[in-house]
Symmetry: C2
Subunit: 213 residues, 2 copies
């Protein structure tokens, strides 16, 4: 059977969402590391897979895809194991809404403008830009509230079964929750913290947990 | 039967993608104008529908959604008419990949950084920022090439039948093609220009065509 190969670094949230999908489906895979800090993502080999120089990229036999969301949907549709898309049309829309909120708002606020200045830049020897974090807090907070509202009354993001929305949210939530800024924001998000309390125990989430610093 | 209401301005590309979906499915709807230039999108009435102050938002009976992609998938799943999602798992992934390329790269390059400075700002009495456009050209060109490669050999974005990818691409492509910068970029995109030559004739595309200026 054709192998699945994921190209990207284990510390990338979008790469981790794809790994989580493979783990939850029980699909074996190889992770080929493509580093974002040494310029490998802008090298010719990776640009041939992903013309924008981003991660992840994915191959399964002669199927080649890039961008996390289409890769996740492909894996869910192409392999057996539990379905990661709700059958109900409203729950499917909620799943896609959570994914859109992450890609459109939460990622930039939580990762680019909180995790990077607070954790990544200092790890690389730079100074934390407090202004960058402060400017991002309203959008970060709005994203927390919007997602907390959607999870209200459900075990998972899009209803009572695990879906791709949970696997897209887990990596960004995990990083946000490791910052003091995120800890403060999440104090007002009881539904999300309850969701994370059981998500973080899943074998897929434990197995793909990235080390920072 | 419950009415469909779309909240947003007809000139917004994301709003137009939702209107195109409704038109292609043959679903009646009401468009409630929410203006992006007079601050209506940041007013309390709209923030109750869309907490980030963006467009579109959508209601169908007691179902309330925001963000174009989940709304489009909801409409396709909730109503009869032609399916706008391919049955084949690879074609579905291509559909989602096109949508991801638009949301992740093409929209900012084509709309925020070409259409706005070239057309919208001058319409409002300001000066065109040529540097802004120049800086955006590499990403704009990479997006054109990536989408042109995906359409290669097919009538539509995700195969030989119309899908949500075409309805997501049409509004941003339409605006790009109306700028001299876009005209130049699209000279190297024969698959996309062939695609647009038939897309632009569709009644849904003609009916929702926004006037600029």
């Amino acid at each position: 059977m054709a192998q699945c190969t994921v190209y990207g670094p284990a510390y990338s949230t979008y790469t981790r969402s794809v790994l989580l999908t493979l783990e939850e489906k029980g699909v074996p895979y190889t992770l080929e590391h493509v580093d974002l800090f040494d310029g490998s993502n802008k090298g010719a080999a990776h640009l041939a897979r992903q013309p924008f120089g981003k991660v992840p990229a994915f191959e399964h036999g002669d199927i080649a895809l890039y961008e996390a969301v289409p890769i996740m949907f492909y894996i869910d549709g192409a392999f057996g194991g539990p379905s990661l898309q709700p059958a109900d049309v409203v729950e499917r829309a909620r799943m896609l809404q959570v994914i859109s909120i992450i890609n459109g708002y939460a990622y930039s606020a939580w990762i680019t403008n909180i995790l990077f200045p607070r954790v990544v830049t200092p790890m690389l020897g730079g100074a934390c830009d407090e202004e960058q974090i402060k400017s991002a807090l309203p959008l970060a907070q709005c994203s927390v509230k919007a997602l907390n509202d959607i999870v209200d009354g459900h075990k998972f993001c899009a209803g009572d079964t695990l879906s791709l929305a949970d696997l897209h949210l887990a990596p960004v939530y995990d990083y946000l929750s490791r910052t003091p800024d995120g800890e403060a924001l999440l104090q007002d998000a009881p539904n999300l913290t309850r969701w994370w309390a059981h998500m973080r125990e899943r074998p897929s989430v434990v197995k793909t947990s990235p080390k920072l610093g």
